[in-house]
Symmetry: C2
Subunit: 113 residues, 2 copies
DNA sequence: TCGCTATATTAGAAATTGCGAATATAATGA
DNA sequence: TCATTATATTCGCAATTTCTAATATAGCGA
């Protein structure tokens, strides 16, 4: 395989290689959201959030739709979410039960609102 | 989800985010190989190869087995290979219709020298 | 022991990444 | 028009990554 093709794959992995960007993509699992709503949910500086969104845009991992004042973001292809799901399984397989339990608790809390 | 969990996922993605390391893992698809054989196959500096192997070892993506003079490397869990397979599908899906992205890749390659 | 092979580690430089602060742009409504 | 809101971009700096060159370690056979 030519190195340029591996370069492409590496660049996608690189774009995913940040906790904030993973958080952003996880929030987009169920559909599009405005840029600002991530900040509210994740508690980030506005500029910082925008920079991370720019990385995801740069690799066309997300698409954008402008609606008046706001910009809606969505994951371009669910394959990316499949990648994250695989990673979630990998995580559960190798990280201790205590951490996995923490994650369960967090999710329960999220469902509760 | 606690950020420390996303941190774990991000670190795995980071470990995958280099063409050389992707090449190494692809070579390990069919079983273990000695450290040296990658160098022969990929044409890398010995030290550089060893550093990339160290990154994969550091995240326990690969396991090692010492046999006399040599060290055999293997992928610890096929889930990692599934990740690469998903990425391969993602690549084929989008490189064909995205000239802009190809141009980006070319530019990136130019910048890299 | 010595010398050879395989592999790993360290050091230092160049490039890249991530952050907050400040600034810019664009849409909306008074 | 002006002010406000939502979002993006630029700048400067610290931290990280990647590379080459040099050095270190370990196993093996003479």
């Amino acid at each position: 395989m030519p190195d340029s093709l591996r370069q492409f794959k590496a660049e996608i992995f690189q774009a995913l290689a940040h906790p904030t960007r993973i958080a952003i993509l996880e929030q987009l699992r169920d559909g599009e959201l405005t840029a600002g709503s991530f900040g509210d949910r994740l508690g980030l500086e506005q500029a910082n959030l925008s920079q991370h969104l720019a990385v995801l845009r740069g690799k066309q991992i997300v698409t954008t739709r402008k609606a008046g004042n706001q910009v809606f973001y969505a994951v371009r292809d669910p394959l990316i979410l499949d990648l994250l799901e695989l990673m979630r399984r990998y995580f559960h397989k190798y990280v201790g039960d205590s951490l996995a339990l923490m994650e369960e608790m967090e999710k329960a809390e999220e469902r509760r609102g």
